[in-house]
């Protein structure tokens, strides 16, 4: 942002909600929106494709909002579809601006030039991570000991195969908080909960954790909820009511104590 052009281009910083919340959790939703801003047209996709899970994580934002409210947590979410830029991927990963997602070709991403890739990185990825970084650094500087929790949803059927897991807890380098969340979910909810399902750090899905939490030693976890369980506003709210005490119990096991 401070260097290297793109001064006149539109940028898409994250939306920050509950900025003055005092709870320890910082809730993040990289795939909150299926919005494709004007500069990128419709990426050559049908309206059905633009509403499907390839464009965003359906239900994740509603669940994240419910959790943020119940945990007195700040919420940071991306305002742009991951098909424009997937903020949970570094700029040199194939999935950052995917030419194909599951069984769908993305025509608007088929032949990106280095300049196209740099422009999308500057418009979406950099502002998103700068915005999240600022929130975390402010809390670290004030001694609030933030814990980073990212909220995702996954499709019940992937490449034609049904998925039995309902709640996945994924860790990167530090598994402390994920294991505490898993234990609390199994103890206190009927959810079929699994560690590192339906995918794991080896699938390169933990970029936000690696970038924003690991360098600061922050407790962190990536949560995945099967999207048929959060398909309506009522279901999102019910899942938030189920998971908020799970996250609170897990965070209570951390040192230093939550503030």
């Amino acid at each position: 942002m401070h260097a290297g052009g793109n001064r006149d281009a539109a940028v898409f910083p994250p939306v920050v909600e509950n900025g003055s919340a005092r709870g320890r959790a910082v809730i993040v939703c990289e795939h909150a929106s299926n919005h494709i801003p004007a500069p990128w047209g419709d990426l050559g996709l049908t309206a059905d494709q633009r509403r499907a899970h390839i464009a965003w994580d359906p239900g994740a934002l509603g669940l994240a909002r419910g959790l943020a409210e119940r945990l007195d947590a700040v919420l940071v979410h991306a305002p742009v579809s991951r098909l424009v830029y997937d903020c949970n991927r570094a700029p040199d990963m194939a999935g950052a601006m995917p030419a194909r997602s599951e069984i769908h070709d993305i025509p608007g991403n088929a032949a990106l030039t280095p300049e196209d890739r740099a422009r999308r990185t500057a418009a979406v990825y950099i502002p998103f991570h700068d915005g999240l970084h600022a929130v975390l650094m402010d809390r670290i500087a004030r001694g609030l000991h933030p814990a980073l929790i990212t909220i995702h949803s996954f499709t019940p059927v992937y490449f034609g195969k049904p998925r039995a897991v309902e709640f996945g807890v994924i860790h990167d380098a530090d598994d402390t908080l994920p294991r505490a969340i898993l234990a609390a979910a199994r103890a206190h909810t009927p959810l079929r909960a699994q560690l590192n399902e339906p995918y794991s750090a080896r699938d390169d899905v933990t970029h936000t954790l690696r970038l924003q939490a690991t360098p600061y030693g922050l407790p962190n976890a990536m949560l995945e909820v099967r999207n048929d369980l959060i398909a309506t506003p009522e279901a999102e709210a019910a899942m938030a009511a189920t998971l908020a005490p799970v996250l609170a119990a897990a965070m209570a096991t951390l040192t230093p104590e939550p503030v």
Copy 2:
């Protein structure tokens, strides 16, 4: 910067030089300046203290500029003294806004409130790392495979003890580039070169590498030159002439090939 106040306060983004350079190295100098901007007065220090190594790394910027020129590299350096905020430290590290440095008390840092710490973090640390991040991400997005090299200097006498090492090469998680630099320095220069001297990652001196290089798998190294060897503009230029071929030889061993 996008959230949480400080909108009216001055911010101090890094200086970016040679922004359109095409070489693989991104040269960084976190301790380039001993400037203490107006909001912080003189931090209660004498003029001699503000010129001493506690306030900055004397000679490092001149050396970094010489290297950037010879390597066709972009240079990113901080415009503010590390006694205001040390950009190579996270906001919760004691050294970020040190109350004491070597044998000197820093009166202006003696009783910082959480609000003071948040303000300095927002003014200096966040803009510095956002600026460096933008430079690196632009290059990654364009396929330029950047390598991050930070340039520091150290005092010949520390706590009364002389240091024999002249050129220190410090690694964090990935020692590939540091070991290649060390081998080239020993093969092609008369410098007394050592790995992880005069300090190492265990002393928490590799924050910039951890934050900006490790999450992206970028080759990275922290270089330390004894400051009596770069005490004049002529000496800085001579050291740049000595070290530029060392860095070029080391980078030539990396895969993918430098562009």
